[in-house]
Symmetry: C2
Subunit: 223 residues, 2 copies
């Protein structure tokens, strides 16, 4: 139960210790965005009414793409397209709503830097959240922020098994890793962390979700 | 290098043997759609021209949602929304284009049944393909067909760590598993199979991609 000002890195190190694990070079740590938001104080009062819900959601939005009842499909200030600007409104009992982290890439870099400083180990960090998909049922976890990982792996210019040059194949490994981590991060469990081990060393490197994953409006055929 | 009529299940069993692995209860096998298409003869002649490309793609489409140059955003006969109806046009050298499997759920059921018959073990099977995303850069692998897996896990009615009832949370685990498998299925390698082990037993059960993942037009705010 993370609160404003809580030190996520201490909680993460404690979790690893309880699990009998320690971080190794080329590990990746997934942190769900909700605990990042809470520790950073991205929480607002929420009175539980539909009017207030819509006001909070639209306040977190750069643009509203679709409206249906009180549901909003939004473009957030970060450039993410999601439902209700990613605001978690399920905490009405407490009188609060949880917003997305202000700058998830920066949050990831901060956690990564802290881990390097305190444990002396260079790992990658992903901040994840749960998004719907416009043309497929069910939600999946995706990356909101990253540090130390190449979010998109460029396989262009490599050859397939027949020696033929591959067509454009930029694989969004950040999102594939986020989804993989969600397979063990059951919502009913209290742990907001997952440890991903065994990734190919070529996955690690520079980049961020905002630079490499967020699609600009100009490239978009459906905005 | 799979050809029409090749027995994929024999190739899969041989691959497992070479890797020193054998299938266990509650394993899941991922098979990339391209080898399924080839073995099922879902291959057409392609002369390499733009006109022919567009004709093949539109022939595989129920509807065309967007056109930009020779790119088509399509709704396939299966109800998938993807680029160029999922047709693999990168084989122009051979004078062929590879279509998607006709009924990927049926293909998955057939492979699963064969594995049960020949190895006496009950595993789940996913057929996967690489799709773009409308609002995020980079492609990810998703499920086209499944057997033995609940493609969407319904967490509604379960409780979170505070005992609070969760909001609608239907997790598309089929797509999260497909993406996870793609992290090891490098396109430049010859292996079209991945073995996924350690999934929660609750993931296994009835359902199919066409029933549980394909979104009907009525639910769609962007079609």
């Amino acid at each position: 139960m993370v609160q404003r000002g809580d030190d996520l890195v201490t909680l993460l190190i404690d979790s690893l210790e309880s699990a009998g694990e320690s971080l190794l070079e080329n590990d990746l740590v997934v942190v769900t965005s909700k605990v990042v938001s809470k520790s950073e104080g991205q929480v607002v009062a929420f009175d539980g009414t539909d009017e207030h819900k819509v006001a909070i959601v639209e306040g977190e939005s750069r643009r509203v793409l679709r409206r249906r009842g009180t549901l909003r499909i939004t473009e957030t200030h970060h450039g993410f397209i999601n439902a209700n600007a990613g605001v978690d409104l399920s905490n009405a009992d407490d009188g609060t709503a949880i917003l997305l982290p202000k700058d998830p890439d920066r949050s990831a870099r901060r956690i990564r830097g802290e881990l390097a400083r305190r444990l002396g180990v260079d790992v990658a960090v992903l901040i994840t959240d749960t998004f719907g998909r416009v043309w497929r049922q069910g939600v999946t976890d995706v990356a909101l922020g990253s540090a130390g990982l190449r979010p998109v792996l460029d396989l262009r210019g490599t050859h397939d098994a027949t020696g033929r040059l591959l067509e454009a194949t930029e694989v969004a490994i950040a999102d594939e890793i986020a989804g993989a981590a969600n397979l063990v991060l059951h919502k009913s469990a209290a742990t907001p962390f997952a440890l991903v081990r065994g990734l190919d060393p070529s996955f690690f490197g520079p980049g961020s979700v905002s630079e490499n994953i967020v699609r600009s409006k100009n490239d978009d055929l459906f905005r």
